[in-house]
């Protein structure tokens, strides 16, 4: 039974991807891309990695979709671009590449266990139970830190391109129909609640900093869609603190652990430190994502700082 389901998911993924590439209309491509994101999160659940499913759904489908839709709005609405010119000469090498990679995949050893035993062995001496969060925040904390750095740089980059110091003041016109406003007024508290719960759950069950942050970001963006300045309300300094708190927490941890125990990014015994870092990461992920969505449409700038 599982086999049929896997086949179905795999084929639909490939089919949607092919349709995205093949479609002439940009809007259609974006919509298809959102469905592609949802199917992908379906695949993640099938492969028993729930937190990735949540992240994919919220980011891959949600935020990316918003960004693309917003970008499409800004573009000169050229009705239909000419038939996508996939040059035939390109088709043939792509086929070869795909087949070579497929053959290579066959050689993956059957009893491939990867790092599972090592992680489980080391789980005992970290204060986190759930392996994924442990890997993320403890074993490979350096990766997470750099990844927060990437997020931060993306925000700085967008600021640089828009030549703005902060995102305060960007507002969208309020949606006309009352239904939209009412849905947002109900959904917002629920999403914030779920975000918090996911964050708290992360320590011992699938969830954690990323998922919480992403859900909170979705809430913020929804608020912004409703015409509310959401994060734009914050004064510039507060906004910066929220933006930097994740990256800064890791930095402080690094400095402290370097000078205290000589081993950078080694978490101290009591659990509080890791949770603190986790919460800060969530907040900064949410803020960064919201700022990315808010900052990119440059046209209705009210004033520059």
């Amino acid at each position: 039974m599982n086999l049929a389901f896997d086949l179905l998911v795999g084929l639909s993924l490939v089919w949607v991807a092919w349709r995205i590439v093949g479609s002439r209309d940009h809007f259609q491509a974006v919509v298809l891309f959102i469905t592609f994101g949802l199917i992908l999160s379906l695949a993640w659940t099938r492969l028993q990695s729930p937190d990735i499913a949540i992240a994919e759904a919220a980011v891959g489908a949600g935020l990316a979709g918003v960004l693309f839709m917003d970008a499409l709005g800004g573009l000169s609405s050229s009705p239909g671009s000419p038939r996508p010119a996939v040059p035939l000469t390109l088709l043939f090498p792509c086929l070869i590449l795909a087949s070579i990679m497929a053959i290579a995949v066959l050689f993956v050893p059957e009893d491939f266990l990867g790092l599972i035993p090592v992680v489980h062995g080391a789980l005992t001496d970290t204060s986190l139970e759930y392996p994924v969060t442990a890997v993320l925040l403890d074993f490979r904390a350096y990766d997470t830190w750099l990844e927060l750095g990437v997020l931060l740089v993306a925000v700085l980059g967008v600021m640089g391109i828009r030549r703005i110091g902060s995102i305060s003041g960007s507002r969208l016109p309020a949606p006309a129909d009352p239904v939209g406003r009412w849905i947002i007024r109900i959904l917002l508290p629920i999403m914030v609640l779920i975000g918090g719960y996911l964050l708290w759950l992360g320590a011992f069950a699938p969830g954690g900093a990323f998922q919480g942050g992403v859900v909170l970001a979705a809430a913020g963006v929804m608020l912004w869609q409703a015409g509310h300045p959401s994060l734009g309300l914050l004064p510039r300094l507060w906004w910066i603190v929220l933006l930097f708190c994740g990256f800064l927490s890791f930095l402080i941890l690094a400095f402290w652990s370097l000078f205290h125990s000589g081993r950078m990014l080694a978490h101290p015994e009591n659990k509080l430190w890791i949770l603190g870092v986790e919460y800060a990461a969530t907040i900064s992920i949410a803020t960064c994502l919201i700022s990315l969505v808010l900052a990119s449409p440059g046209r209705c700038r009210v004033r520059d700082n």
């Binding site: 070579i100 990679m101 053959i103 290579a104 995949v105 050689f107 993956v108 491939f112 266990l113 990867g114 790092l115 090592v118 992680v119 080391a122 403890d138 074993f139 490979r140 904390a141 350096y142 990766d143 750099l146 990844e147 750095g149 990437v150 931060l152 740089v153 993306a154 700085l156 980059g157 600021m159 640089g160 391109i161 030549r163 110091g165 910066i240 930097f244 990256f247 800064l248 930095l251 690094a254 400095f255 652990s257 370097l258 125990s261 081993r263 950078m264 990014l265 080694a266 978490h267």
Partner: protein
């Protein structure tokens, strides 16, 4: 303490974003000098008592991420430190000018982030970590390139960013394949576990092409000239002197640490060799027929990068270990002296553009009279690029030709010879302008004293390293940490 090299720039980046005006420049300069001294200390430490391997967060290799500072990475770190410090000193007056003021905040934070990510790239010893750092480098570099705000620069930055992302995706897939085969992510563990299966071959293919895309080797060089040509002078100096070297360093790590013992790399090396040869000739030729100064220098970067890729066929085919060291030293010297010379060339070009207002070569008429210091810098940097005797470039060309002749692959000799001639072609195309009597009316705005001195110091450095070859050879031979004790030289 290699970790400091990563921490200090990041803290400086945050500070620069928050602070304003003079405070910001102070923070930036402080950050730059601290990083410089940290990398100098690290270099001394490695020179004295060998390569350093640390595992972050206390978790050892298969699980946690490690940092490794050996001879090779220390040399590149020093290069980044020197160029970084000089560029920072150059940028303080550059960005305090009226025109550039709004960009200062973004420039300094992005530049510090880039410096920190470059330092971490040179210390990398985990494959996935390499991907994340590579991504961080690409985004900050693209953001810096897009700072000048003109349509052309934005376009160039986006083209650069898209190619970088495609490259990173291929790299990540390669990481996946390695993980599928070796089950671990640490470079040295993968290297020691060996494995010549199709998975590793696929991984090698993907990762190499990903990194070639990012270091602008011949077929994938199209994004570089507009990106470096349109960016601001200090930014293009950083891009072509350091960022290109970053992805090349990673390629070295992969080919000589991850695939250290595997026989996969023998045949593939000649492909890289030929591409390098074409890059040298194509880049230098293109540089001759350009008429805009920064484009000439940008295309010359493509040409000079070609020399580095000659390393692969030379090291992997010769049998005699002595000539391998020769080839290694040649490649490292070429990277370092090119980095220094290219940075000083771009900074000098920046001075010229600021003085004469236009980037066109004809605007450089009779600069010998008005900007003698800049002409002298251009001359010194040119000498180092051309590989004329007193310079580091000469040492590189000398050892390169020697190892080529010793390795018997005489067709590669075309690169240093023909390349050298073509390089002389465009260098003297620039220098001869200095002697052309300029139009009387050409107004020449005064260029800040500090900016000229920064470019000059870099040029002098690129000449001086020519004399200190022993230390570099020592670093490359005895201070290399390799997957298994057999070390670099199988």
């Amino acid at each position: 303490m290699p970790e400091l090299l990563v921490l200090i720039p990041f803290t400086a980046a945050l500070l620069c974003f928050i602070l304003k005006g003079v405070l910001r420049s102070l923070a930036a300069l402080l950050g730059a000098s601290l990083t410089f001294s940290a990398s100098a200390l690290l270099a001394a430490d490695v020179y004295q008592n060998g390569a350093i391997r640390i595992s972050l967060g206390g978790w050892d290799a298969p699980l946690g991420i490690g940092l490794s500072a050996d001879g090779l990475s220390v040399i590149f770190l020093l290069l980044t430190a020197i160029v970084g410090l000089m560029v920072s000193i150059y940028c303080v007056p550059f960005f305090s000018g009226l025109h550039e003021q709004p960009l200062a905040r973004h420039f300094w934070s992005l530049w510090m982030f880039l410096w920190g990510s470059l330092n971490s790239l040179f210390l990398v010893s985990d494959v996935f970590n390499a991907y994340v750092v590579l991504e961080l480098v690409s985004i900050s570099a693209a953001a810096l390139a897009a700072l000048s705000g003109t349509a052309a620069s934005l376009r160039a930055a986006l083209r650069y960013f898209l190619t970088a992302m495609a490259g990173s995706m291929a790299f990540l897939l390669g990481v996946g394949f390695i993980y599928a085969q070796a089950g671990t992510l640490d470079m040295f563990l993968v290297g020691s576990s060996g494995g010549d299966g199709p998975l590793m071959a696929m991984a090698l293919g993907l990762m190499t092409v990903g990194l070639i895309m990012k270091s602008a080797l011949f077929p994938f060089h199209f994004w570089l000239p507009p990106a470096h040509g349109e960016a601001k002078a200090p930014v293009s100096a950083i891009l072509s002197a350091l960022v290109m070297k970053g992805s090349f360093f990673l390629l070295l790590r992969i080919w000589f640490n991850v695939f250290q013992d595997s026989s996969l790399t023998v045949h593939a090396a000649s492909v890289l060799g030929f591409l390098g040869l074409f890059a040298v000739i194509w880049g230098s030729y293109q540089a001759i027929i350009q008429s805009r100064l920064k484009l000439i220098i940008a295309y010359s970067s493509i040409g000079q990068m070609g020399y580095l890729f000659l390393l692969f066929p030379l090291v992997l085919t010769t049998v005699d270990a002595a000539w391998k060291i020769e080839a290694w030293t040649a490649c490292v010297f070429q990277a370092v002296s090119h980095g220094l010379a290219k940075a000083s060339l771009f900074l000098a070009a920046g001075n010229l553009i600021q003085a004469s207002g236009t980037d066109n070569l004809r605007s450089m008429r009779n600069i010998a009279g008005s900007l003698p210091m800049t002409t002298f810098t251009l001359a010194l940097a040119g000498i180092s690029l051309m590989g004329l005797p007193p310079s580091g470039g000469f040492v590189a060309k000398w050892m390169l030709l020697q190892s080529i002749l010793a390795s018997g692959q005489w067709w590669l000799a075309a690169a240093p010879i023909l390349g050298g001639l073509l390089t002389a072609g465009y260098i003297f195309k620039i220098l001869s302008q200095a002697f052309v009597p300029g139009a009387e009316g050409a107004c020449c705005k005064p260029v800040c004293f500090v900016m000229e001195k920064a470019a000059l110091v870099l040029a002098i450095f690129s000449i001086l390293i020519g004399f200190r070859a022993e230390e570099v050879i020592f670093l490359l031979t005895d201070r290399i940490c390799a997957a298994n004790p057999g070390g670099f030289w199988p």
